[in-house]
């Protein structure tokens, strides 16, 4: 057990999906009398027993409010809660713990930046630059900001393969761009964006960069110092941790000047009716009793993922994705949406002119969980002129057999609906 009180399952020395898989009780389920093939990991991943046990133990014997009590339980909870922050900071290689804020998830992290940092940088007639492949949660908060400030959102075009058109990005940057908001990995296409290069370009023009890291954190090592991004938001629930908790990394220089987002307990230094002074970051941005249990569960998820080894995970998932892509492409009429050179985890496709909803319904009956629809990326779907896709998204516990099951399922869909 470490300072966060994390429960760690013994992790095999060599990466073995079967062994890793056995740590996830939900994967033993059957649906419609068939073994569950869970390929909806981009929406949310399943949880290892260690994370589940951590939540149970916290509520069974450790629960108390943090940052408040002088008593034993409160001190113990506070220590574990802050140790988890240290854990999360190390996970993304943040330079210091106060640069790591707890949020409800990626969406809240982006909204926090848009609400607190946005108005300091974006004014009338300015531009917030996003890409055409962003998730709605990395579009709408910026539209709300722009509406309030009299600014506008511009989108970097995406190529037919689902990649940023880099020359267009450079051209757009030269406009009155005050902020760049970009996904690390596209949830609908799996494209890994060339963040390091984009961030360097943006910084050359003094443009701060906010990264939506929701789809990257479960699949690769994230290093915010190497990226040099100004903000990086991600969610616990997509990386084997509990729902309702996430991290917003922000550079200290920004967090210090940003006004608080929500008022309440814990975020203040002194309160009078005349003038309230605020606590230092990160507490300035964490009003009210936080989500203590899920923070601790999240720390266990980080231990799990780092225990397995993110580089090993990335290598395994790359092979799995390549295999599934190849096998699926053998089926006549299958059209892959998103064929970028650098991809992670996601296989988005259409089968002839079969509606994604029909395909998803049949796959579901075969025990295969995929997502269908627009994946909260309506502008991107319009860009490709399609109503949506069928999306299979892999995680470290998926097997080559499951990729085969998907391929067999798609063949069955074709027989029934083609």
């Amino acid at each position: 057990m470490n300072a966060t009180g994390a429960i760690q399952d013994p992790v095999p020395g060599k990466f073995d999906p079967a062994e890793v898989r056995s740590l996830f009780p939900a994967l033993e389920r059957e649906v419609y009398g068939k073994p569950l093939v869970y390929l909806d990991n981009a929406a949310s991943s399943q949880k290892p027993q260690a994370v589940i046990d951590r939540l149970v133990r916290y509520y069974s014997s450790e629960h108390s409010n943090v940052h408040r009590g002088v008593h034993f339980l409160s001190r113990e909870a506070t220590d574990a809660y802050e140790a988890a922050r240290k854990r999360a900071a190390a996970f993304v290689n943040a330079p210091s713990e106060p640069e790591v804020l707890y949020t409800r998830g990626t969406t809240e992290g982006i909204n926090l930046v848009a609400s607190s940092f946005g108005p300091l940088h974006v004014g009338k007639d300015d531009v917030v630059l996003v890409s055409h492949m962003e998730h709605h949660s990395n579009i709408v908060p910026w539209q709300m900001l722009c509406e309030a400030q009299g600014a506008r959102v511009q989108a970097i075009p995406v190529s037919d393969t689902g990649e940023i058109v880099y020359e267009e990005f450079e051209r757009l940057l030269a406009e009155r761009v005050r902020l760049l908001a970009i996904g690390h990995v596209s949830n609908a296409l799996g494209t890994v964006n060339p963040l390091k290069r984009m961030i360097r370009h943006a910084h050359d023009l003094g443009v701060p960069v906010v990264v939506d890291g929701a789809q990257a954190a479960p699949h690769m090592k994230v290093d915010v110092q190497e990226l040099d991004c100004d903000f990086y938001a991600f969610s616990s629930h997509k990386m084997f941790g509990p729902t309702g908790i996430g991290i917003l990394y922000g550079k200290a220089e920004h967090l210090e000047t940003m006004p608080p987002w929500q008022g309440g307990g814990d975020m203040i230094e002194t309160v009078t009716f005349e003038k309230t002074t605020y606590n230092e970051p990160p507490h300035k941005f964490e009003a009210g009793t936080p989500n203590i249990a899920d923070v601790l569960g999240f720390a266990s998820a980080i231990d799990f993922l780092e225990g397995v080894g993110q580089n090993r995970v990335a290598a395994y998932e790359r092979d799995l994705l390549a295999y599934a892509t190849e096998r699926l492409s053998e089926i006549e009429g299958v059209r892959l949406i998103g064929t970028a050179t650098d991809k992670a985890s996601v296989l988005s496709f259409l089968i002839g002119d079969i509606h994604p909803y029909d395909a998803g319904t049949i796959l579901d009956r075969l025990g295969i969980a995929v997502r269908t629809g627009h994946h909260c990326t309506q502008p991107l779907m319009r860009r490709f002129g399609i109503p949506g896709t069928v999306r299979a998204s892999f995680a470290l516990y998926n097997t080559f057999d499951e990729a085969d099951a998907l391929v067999a399922g798609v063949r069955r869909v074709k027989e029934m609906l083609g």
Binding site: Y357, D358, T361, R365, G373, M416
Partner: protein, 147 residues
């Protein structure tokens, strides 16, 4: 083996026929294949009616249903761009179209359960079957007493 889509009979009688037809298939695949067949056989809705006014919300696929009162009875036609959804539309049209509004309002659609399509009624399913049923009944409700 497709049955006559403009069958006569009460809601209950029509539902009973559907249950019997689906009863010929003993696994989910046969039932779904039949549902898809029923969807394919539904005459398409004239494209001028595929508008916002007739669109049913809450569906991942697009669904349109056009109700009409004729001689005190409610007639429905509908369509969808997804075949399974279209099959569900066809079943509702077959059971409810041409019935008196009061009967439609009071209709118990438990036949959907009996043919193995009950999970489509759950609000978490994004095919909007629940929304379809609600819209069909709301139109009928607005015309109760006008018969």
């Amino acid at each position: 083996m497709l049955a006559n889509m403009t069958a006569n009979g009460t809601i209950q009688e029509r539902a009973h026929d559907i249950v019997e037809e689906f009863g010929l298939f003993d696994d989910w695949m046969g039932k779904y294949e039949y549902l898809i067949e029923i969807g394919q056989a539904l005459s398409p809705l004239d494209s001028r009616y595929k508008t916002k006014a007739y669109r049913i919300h809450g569906c991942q696929a697009q669904v349109w249903i056009r109700p009409e009162m004729k001689n005190g009875l409610v007639f429905y036609e509908g369509d969808s761009d997804a075949l399974i959804t279209k099959g569900l539309v066809a079943l509702l049209v077959r059971v409810l179209s041409g019935q008196p509004p009061q009967e439609i309002v009071e209709a118990d659609l438990e036949f959907l359960d009996r043919i193995g399509m009950k999970d489509h009624l759950s609000s978490t399913r994004r095919n909007g079957l629940a929304s379809m049923v609600k819209q069909l009944k709301l139109f009928a409700l607005a015309h109760t007493g006008s018969a």
